[in-house]
Subunit: 916 residues, 2 copies
């Protein structure tokens, strides 16, 4: 017979902390505490498996479960010397949910169960406190009706309000025993009126009803939404904890509270918590009375009375218990306790939730204190949290004041962490103009610019560079704006759809708040996705101040020291190398400061957009034959060479993987009349010629059109120019003692012959450069694997490729057949309908796209055992994906500069998780 019910406390403690999956977090920890000799009111846990059985059986408790509950109850009655429903010595119970992972506030609880018209009298007598007894009874009727009988608690609240109104009383505490008793009668009448039957007086029926209600609450909409948000599988189910009631509301020697072994907001190692005298737990939550601080330290000069002062002995016992529990669980604990007539009972302990910054501090402190070792410390960290250490920040108090003043305009997606403030620019040109105007000013006097667009495109690049932050009304976490902003380490809020951007009136508005472009400030918090009207104060992170700006000494910043510690430990364990995606010397330098071990993706297309270059690009596009194309493209050579010289110098001694031109040509031509007229003028052709060419460049599905290596196959002069720029740059900087280590990769390969053709052109150009310079420059030539066919035929591709770099963004697009730019119309629904667990553009789809990666690695190695395998693109900075890449045996991941530390930590965690 399967065991469905486990007792805890008293003389029969059947569980422990290792049984979390079966008993839930609360249940297993109650048993664990009892095992440690900590005062826990005894009770029993109905397992999470029963939740599944219950639902499978059409919301019915199986008979053997009911039997086991009965048996456990009998033990509990014996242990307590009280009996459920006994009018003299009634046993009173709490019924609480308890899933594997805590889901605070999501599920239902019933307290004071076992009370009825008879036992309430017994309780009054036993406690010698009829007011307490009837207060407890009315609470029970309210809770039970609300949770189990589906009679909303508002009906009861009304009655209490009526009574107060009639009697002129304000507080619950003023209500007398008699009045409570009368209310109990009215409450029962409400239930009878609503349901046509009496409020259940049979405590056994009450108990089963309570247990069923908790199981039902697993499937409420709010619980489902919470699980989806927190990636908790539906199959886990919740356990139900039935526990002897203890009362914090029996008088002034009673109380209830919550405590944290450390500050969950900052991570500071101070005991921390709140309590109320003469109250039940729900009173703390309801917020009617202001809770008091637990410690004197907390209370400080507030004038509030701490538990430490009010009940020094109880406080001492609580403090010791909490310390014991933290040491036992080796983690910051979040505890609930009740004091009944001067006696302390622990009702719950669990690992406390904490902010990102607190999480980092606590893990590191515990290592320092010797509570956990550094490996455990690393495992405790959430790699994503590291971005918070790097992002510029708003002052929290100022933000709160803005919110209060109604100056928070809207929320969007937190697409690029950090804080940005500036004047509103509605176009890239405006952003550039505003920024340029400020360049002559003293930095302290600059106002900054925030680029606000419906959505961004590559043409907005200059504006994004000029802006402090980017805000869009459309687009998701992987829209152009989001990807580019994260790549630049700029704060970005995307998809703020309630924002009205009126380009004609030059305003950005939400409701009454109307901001004028070029005049008004806007502040965006890319970590929270919040948009504020007006100017908040923003500061660069301390890590940036130390590493990039060098305005702060390492030892002057605790935050930086923690960051450095995490990096040091991570570097000790990780196997994966971490490179960065960067295409300017500045980005390269930032990433290097953050620990990047090379550039994994140096895009070259951004280099084509700058003002002095774009005319040559457009001349190339308009050229009628190869000769004219060659003449145009060669004008780009000096610029491109200079770009590479800067990057090679910044990455002196580290590899730089350059990707040949990738986007379709139509991205380089203007699509508006005005731009086309300008282009015609600059190039000395008719506007019709320009229009005609732009039209010819139009594609139905540009993502799958004439781009990537396909460009270079049609226009070999293009890749020859790029290869020449790389080779000449490497040769030039090496004369200044710089060790340039370019690796060149060909994008969008589908078949080895594309690579062969392109490589032949490149090798030929390298040979020409070497001949002209009397040098022997050479570099590895490899390919992106981003087309499913390339992955499937990777054995063939490896015949020519010296390395693979997985372009998992495009591989996801092609592998799923999802256009990233268009997926907004169905992907969110896919995630909400659980067709996909995650947005596959944010976290790699390991089952499908990951399988393509795995196949490609295996086939690639078969042909070329020492082939270097890496990944570039957004997934290289996603911790879950990074761990997958580690397990798949890649040599490196590459991600945007501000995610380099995230990837470094995730890479170390991957190793540590494997050990386990």
């Amino acid at each position: 017979m399967t065991k469905h019910v486990y007792t805890f406390g008293g003389d029969r403690n059947e569980g422990n902390a290792s049984m979390r999956n079966l008993l839930g977090g609360k249940g297993c920890n109650l048993a664990e505490m009892a095992g440690l000799g900590i005062p826990v009111p005894p009770g029993f846990t109905v397992t999470t498996d029963v939740c599944t059985l219950y639902n499978q059986a059409g919301k019915q408790l199986p008979a053997d479960v009911v039997e086991q509950i009965k048996e456990a109850l009998k033990w509990l009655e014996g242990n307590q010397g009280r009996t459920l429903g006994n009018a003299e010595k009634p046993l009173l119970l709490s019924v609480r949910s308890g899933a594997r992972d805590s889901m605070p506030g999501m599920m239902d609880t019933v307290l004071n169960l076992g009370l009825n018209d008879a036992t309430v009298e017994g309780l009054a007598k036993a406690s010698n406190n009829p007011r307490f007894a009837y207060d407890s009874y009315r609470r029970f009727i309210m809770m039970y009706s609300d949770v189990v009988l589906d009679v909303h608690k508002d009906h009861f609240e009304e009655k209490i309000e009526e009574l107060k109104h009639k009697t002129g009383k304000k507080l619950d505490t003023e209500i007398t025993a008699e009045e409570w008793k009368q209310l109990c009668g009215e409450f029962k009448a409400i239930v009878k009126a609503k349901l046509g039957r009496d409020f259940p007086q049979d405590p056994w029926e009450q108990l089963l009803g309570g247990i069923r209600a908790v199981f039902n609450s697993w499937d409420t909409e709010r619980a489902i939404i919470y699980r989806r948000m927190n990636k908790i599988p539906d199959e886990w189910g919740t356990a139900v904890n039935v526990q002897t009631m203890v009362f914090g509301n029996m008088g002034d020697d009673c109380g209830t509270g919550v405590a944290f072994t450390r500050d969950p907001g900052t991570g500071e190692p101070y005991f921390y918590g709140e309590y109320l005298i003469n109250a039940q737990g729900e009173d703390v939550v309801a917020g009617i009375r202001t809770p008091q601080p637990i410690t004197k330290y907390q209370a400080a000069d507030s004038g509030l009375k701490s538990l430490e002062e009010v009940m020094p002995d109880v406080y001492k016992e609580l403090y010791d218990t909490c310390q014991k529990l933290e040491k036992h669980f080796k983690n910051m604990q979040d505890l609930e306790f009740t004091i009944q007539q001067g006696r302390l009972y622990m009702l719950q302990t669990r690992n406390g939730k904490r902010t990102a910054l607190a999480g980092i501090r606590i893990a590191l402190d515990m290592v320092k204190e010797g509570m956990i070792d550094e490996q455990e410390g690393l495992k405790r960290l959430n790699a994503d949290d590291l971005t918070q250490l790097l992002a510029p920040i708003f002052d929290a108090k100022e933000k709160a004041a803005f919110k209060k003043a109604g100056k928070m305009m809207a929320k969007g997606l937190p697409a690029g962490p950090g804080a940005a403030v500036g004047l509103i620019a509605l176009s890239a040109e405006e952003a550039v103009a505003l920024a340029e105007k400020e360049e002559s000013l003293d930095p302290s006097k600059r106002k900054g610019v925030v680029l606000v667009r419906i959505e961004t495109s590559p043409e907005d690049l200059a504006g994004m560079v000029a802006a402090k932050g980017i805000l869009t009304a459309r687009g998701g976490m992987t829209s152009h704006a989001a990807v580019v902003a994260r790549g630049m380490g700029k704060p970005c809020v995307c998809g703020a759809s309630s924002l009205v951007i009126d380009v004609a009136k030059r305003t950005v508005s939400v409701g009454d708040i109307v901001l004028k472009a070029g005049e008004d400030f806007i502040s965006i918090d890319g970590s929270a996705g919040e948009i504020y009207a007006g100017k908040l104060s923003a500061f660069p992170s301390e890590v940036n101040q130390v590493l990039v700006e060098k305005t702060l000494k390492p030892e002057a910043s605790e935050t930086f020291q923690r960051f450095a510690q995490i990096m040091e430990w991570s570097n000790k364990y990780r196997a994966l190398k971490v490179r960065t995606n960067a295409d300017t010397p500045h980005d390269a330098a930032v990433a290097r400061a953050f620990g990047a071990q090379g550039i994994g993706l140096c895009r070259t297309e951004h280099m084509f957009f700058e003002d002095e270059r774009i005319p040559a690009v457009r001349e190339f596009i308009l050229a009628k034959d190869e000769e004219a194309r060659k003449a145009a493209v060669i004008k780009l050579l000096p610029y491109q060479r200079k770009d590479f010289e800067g990057i090679f110098t910044a990455m002196n001694g580290l590899p730089v993987t350059v990707r040949l031109l990738d986007p379709p040509l139509h991205e380089f031509v203007p699509h508006d009349e005005k731009g086309q007229a300008e282009m015609a003028k600059v190039l000395g052709v008719t506007i019709e010629e320009v229009k005609h060419r732009v039209e010819k460049l139009h594609e139905f599905n540009p993502m799958m059109g004439h781009r990537g290596c396909r460009l270079g196959i049609t226009y070999p002069e293009l890749i020859r120019m790029q290869m020449r720029a790389i080779a000449e740059a490497a040769i030039n900087v090496s004369k200044q003692g710089v060790k340039a280590m370019p690796e060149v990769m060909v994008p969008l390969i589908g078949t080895v012959k594309e690579l062969k053709f392109t490589k032949d052109q490149m090798l030929d150009e390298i040979a020409a450069v070497n001949k002209e310079n009397g040098t022997d420059f050479m570099c590895p030539i490899g390919t992106m694997i981003e087309i499913p066919r390339a992955a499937i035929t990777a054995d063939k591709v490896a015949e020519e490729a010296e390395f693979f770099s997985f372009g998992t963004n495009d591989l996801t697009q092609m592998g799923f057949g999802y256009s990233r730019d268009d997926s907004g119309s169905f992907l969110p629904e896919y995630v909400s309908k659980k067709i996909l667990e995650d947005d596959p553009f944010q976290s790699l789809d390991q089952e499908g796209i990951g399988e393509l990666v795995r196949i490609a690695c295996e086939k690639g190695r078969k042909t070329r055992p020492d082939i270097k395998l890496g990944v570039c693109g957004e997934h290289g900075g996603d911790p879950r994906s990074v761990k997958f890449f580690h397990r798949t045996g890649l040599a490196y991941v590459s991600c945007s500069p501000y995610r380099v530390p995230v990837a470094i930590l995730a890479a170390a965690q991957a190793v540590l998780e494997e050990k386990k």
Copy 2:
């Protein structure tokens, strides 16, 4: 030591027909003929391997090859009793190329080699014909200079013209020995002037030069282009045949000619050929003199003198030899012969090229004659050729007359075989209107309509249905127009880019030819890709007349009998079933008549476009909530149900695989102002609403956007309506005794959860229908495999899918990352640069996309061993792809109705090719 040179003829015949790869087609057959005792001038063959060695060695003949040539020459001199360069008894040679597969006219030949200033005198004496000798010498100098020395033959032709002008002579035959001799001198002077050295007098040097020249000619541009067109690998190389010269130009008892054992144009079993008295082979080719027919039958009443009459004995020997060779090779032979002083020499025999229709007839005749068995007969056929038996046809003579009269306007791609004539319609509406106007007329008086568009889109569908044929100025073999036209079995010419379509002026023009829409006729030959101004006479194929129109009895058509014979044999051997892609009862019936064993792809989107339906579709698209959408979509139910009733009835007893709605919704809304205004009016909304919605539907990459199963997941009411229509239709027709066998497939699945979600909706709707009707309808539910991720995770997908149907079109798009609509900008170049062997949309890419198919089959079977596997889409009608699908173990292919016979034959050939 590797043997590089093989002698043939005389007393040392070292080769035979089985050595084609090594000796080339010509060489091995010369040896084979010699072995059969047929008179062949002796000689030797330098192998194809030497071609490769020659090229690897930087265009050098390896020393051992030269040694072996020397040795073979010595044997030949002995055999002939003549010596190369001997002034008394000179040995004269021809040097000819000879690849594995004949490449007619592509490579170089040198005749009369061995002549020089001394040997020409010997030849004059020996032949007692100085004119012949000097004529031969001047020919040799011309040819050798042109081919080996790179001095163009025009320089020499000029001199002959000068001489004729000076002497007033018109024909070569009038030129005297002395004049030829004088010209030889001038020719040599030209060479000396051009090259700065004498024309080579050393016959050995001449011989090596000739051999080298033939090897060089393997790499000329025209040869490379020819190989690419005919898919001949570069590595094959050519052999060189050095052969004793025989002369057809020594007098009137000499001659030369070509013969076919059967008529290569019609396949009729009559000996057929042409010859010239007193001529060398090049004279026949040059076309200066009109060749004479070989047989009396050919000569008929032409007044021409046949060889049969002029040289009855030689004719008899030639006839017997040819018959012997056809019987020996068991194939129609194409032969070259020379008659020297009354003696017949065979210079070449090979399998003759023939037209599609001749090929079919010859293969069937040979089976009837017992020369080959039916399996060999089937293998001989080119499956693609069968479409020619099904397509409507123009009268060949009339076409020729049009061409002569300059009425051929342009050439485009032969995108849908057959002939179509009609008035020009420039829009779908116009085509429908013109066709409707004609409906009341007697069929003989109808003019028909040809739809002429820049390109077509789904909105043109009604026009395509109304038209007899489709002509577009843009788009390739797999453009929308081409795919739909082939699906409908309509003639189609695509991508006729020289066509100027002026919608404003309502004209279609090329140069001077200007046709008025609605008034002028246009004729298109979709088999040849030709476009004619005016009205050609078109006839339906005899097969159609028998099977579809039933206006002709089977026994009255030889063509039909051949078709039926091929189908009968094919059905005997094939394992693959062949279904059709059809979405109307008419197409279904046609395909069934052609042998289709069910419908493999019944698209449902076309059913949404018809006039009375599209308003409901658009109402659905505009609807603001689910209720409104449900109300709109249910209006489509009666139509959709009726569609299915018709199709199920037409396919009574055969499976019909229905695909749920696939295209993105924007295909169903008008994109022009006028259409949007109309739509707004019909639906009673503002035009702004329409515009806004259309804008919202815009996608950057619609191919990878909101379509396929993604639609049904967002709008389950859509698939529920479709499933209901299918179920109700099946139930309805079964009451009339029709056995409906629907199978429903979900398009664009990437993950099993998409299928699960959709299937749940479908099963639920089926249950509802059954409950309403008291029925127990059920049908298999499966999925398209057309997304790479679905192929890779097919084991998971098969948990829900009862069958897979490979959508290889989209699988190719996503697998390669090629947008079919945009690939015109690079795919042709890819094929010409040999990066791809073929357009992967025409013939399946077996290495990459085929590997995805293979993986999916393997994984699908692992989960569900009896899973039914099929393929739908264009590749199902491509013979090479069909054979691949057979080898991969699919159960069926599905293709457009007019390709069903092609697939049937290819399926049989696949089996027969496996046996070998």
